[in-house]
């Protein structure tokens, strides 16, 4: 039996393979794809991202995948943004002010305070908001792997599923209905990260069996 079909959006940036591998490890039928039709027909979509906000947005656009990605994050299918893939859901980022984001979640991405070493590189704890589905059954304390200098500031804090502290308190995970996103890399966060991805796969499964 194969699990739900999860499209991992491949727009040619950096190491996108680890998200695919981690989902496959959880027996999900996950595949990298740069075909908009595969994204449109998948049961769920994962948008990874590494590097700079502007470069990622531009690569997504020039790969012709902005429309299919936007649709996936707004048509009720489970959707997971990771790292820059989370940041791209917002209206824009101070990292690349001239480039618009996908504008799916209200708010902006801003630089972490210069009082700490940037990028934040390494394991930090997630303060999971009670009732969050992506944060269900995670070990406590929840250590997750972060690599970033910028972090989102959602206008509506009720979308925040988990907080992290580095220089300031920031939204490390958001969850609005089926749209989930994490600033950390669950695919690189050992057992805790795999648990979180398994929550995502579970959400895809339960939607399909309803």
């Amino acid at each position: 039996m194969t699990g739900p079909r999860i499209a991992v959006v491949d727009y040619g940036i950096g190491n996108l393979r680890s998200a695919e591998k981690a989902l496959q490890h959880l027996n999900a039928d996950a595949a990298l794809t740069s075909d908009p039709r595969a994204i449109e027909s998948a049961d769920a979509v994962v948008l990874p991202g590494v590097g700079a906000f502007g470069a990622c947005m531009q690569a997504l656009r020039s790969a012709g995948l902005e429309g299919a990605t936007k649709a996936a994050a707004t048509d009720g299918r489970p959707f997971l943004g990771i790292c820059i893939g989370m940041q791209m859901l917002f209206a824009g980022s101070d990292e690349s002010p001239e480039v618009a984001g996908l504008g799916i979640i209200a708010g902006r991405v801003t630089l972490l305070p210069r009082t700490v070493r940037l990028p934040q590189m390494g394991w930090n704890t997630l303060d999971v908001v009670a009732g969050s589905r992506l944060g269900a059954d995670l070990p406590e304390p929840t250590w997750l792997y972060f690599v970033h200098s910028y972090a989102p500031e959602p206008d509506d804090q009720s979308v925040v599923a988990g907080w992290c502290d580095y220089g300031r308190r920031f939204a490390a995970a958001v969850e609005r209905g089926p749209v989930w996103a994490t600033q950390f890399h669950p695919e690189k966060s050992g057992a805790a990260g795999l648990r979180m991805l398994s929550n995502f796969v579970g959400a895809v499964d339960s939607r399909l069996t309803v």
């Binding site: 950096g14 680890s18 591998k21 930090n124 050992g190």
Partner: protein, 252 residues
């Protein structure tokens, strides 16, 4: 709080881990994938693979190693050694590495750091600096295992590579490397004051106390060690317990 990372380093020659890795409960001590799984299970926060393959024929082997590690190990890892060009970086990142480290290539052509960071982001570009004390004070950047002096001042070089886009510095004291006498704390402090990016301390770890000194006195964000882990002298878990008992923030 951000945890201090404990990072085992594996030297890989033509696809096999070398420098006498020898611990119990492992079928084949030379298999990088098996070792990576073992260190992950022990609680390693990250891994560094240094490709020391001399022959260019065997260089593709490292790509396969990276692919296999990425399939089975879900913690971050850096690949260094054979990474000379942006194209080399691309291959390693596409194969599944999270970061690549430039060393001699950056000395020969600093623009490779800028080009790599522009293409893939500063967060995956590490610059490895091998430094040796000068008799007149300060440190000089050396290459080729310390045999080749470059004339570059280590502090100025660290500042330069960060301005070019390095997201992390892997700082090895060539005076201490292999001595088991502890990290060069003054070097860590000097580079740490000069730049804002995270610094991984390397070179000289012989005891758990040395790891503690690297974090507490040296201010390092990551603590790299090889032999104390490879020979079964200490597990990564023991290292973290030791650090936690001394109030260094670590991921258990």
């Amino acid at each position: 709080m951000l945890a201090v990372r404990v990072i085992p380093c594996l030297d890989v020659d033509a696809g096999r881990v070398v420098k006498g890795v020898n611990f119990l409960g492992i079928r084949d001590a030379g298999d990088p994938v098996e070792l990576a799984i073992r260190y992950d299970a022990e609680g390693a926060d990250e891994l560094v693979f240094l490709d020391i393959t001399a022959s260019s024929d065997a260089r593709d082997t490292m790509v396969h190693v990276v692919e296999q590690v990425a399939e089975q190990v879900f913690i971050p890892f850096t690949v260094g050694g054979g990474v000379r060009t942006v194209e080399d970086a691309r291959r390693m990142l596409r194969a599944g590495a999270d970061k690549v480290s430039f060393n001699t290539a950056a000395v020969n052509d600093p623009e490779v750091v800028r080009a790599g960071a522009q293409e893939y982001g500063a967060q995956c570009i590490v610059v490895a600096i091998d430094a040796r004390r000068r008799t007149e004070g300060g440190w000089e950047v050396v290459t080729h295992g310390g045999r080749t002096p470059t004339g570059l001042d280590a502090i100025a070089w660290a500042e330069r590579v960060c301005a070019l886009g390095a997201g992390e510095i892997l700082l090895t004291s060539m005076d201490r490397d292999g001595t088991r006498a502890g990290y060069d704390i003054a070097l860590l402090q000097a580079i740490g004051e000069a730049v804002d990016v995270p610094i991984i301390a390397s070179g000289g770890v012989g005891t758990l106390e040395h790891l503690y000194d690297g974090a507490a006195a040296g201010g390092a964000s990551g603590l790299l060690a090889a032999s104390i882990f490879h020979f079964g002298q200490h597990t990564v878990h023991e290292a973290k317990t030791f650090l936690a008992e001394r109030r260094v923030v670590v991921r258990p």
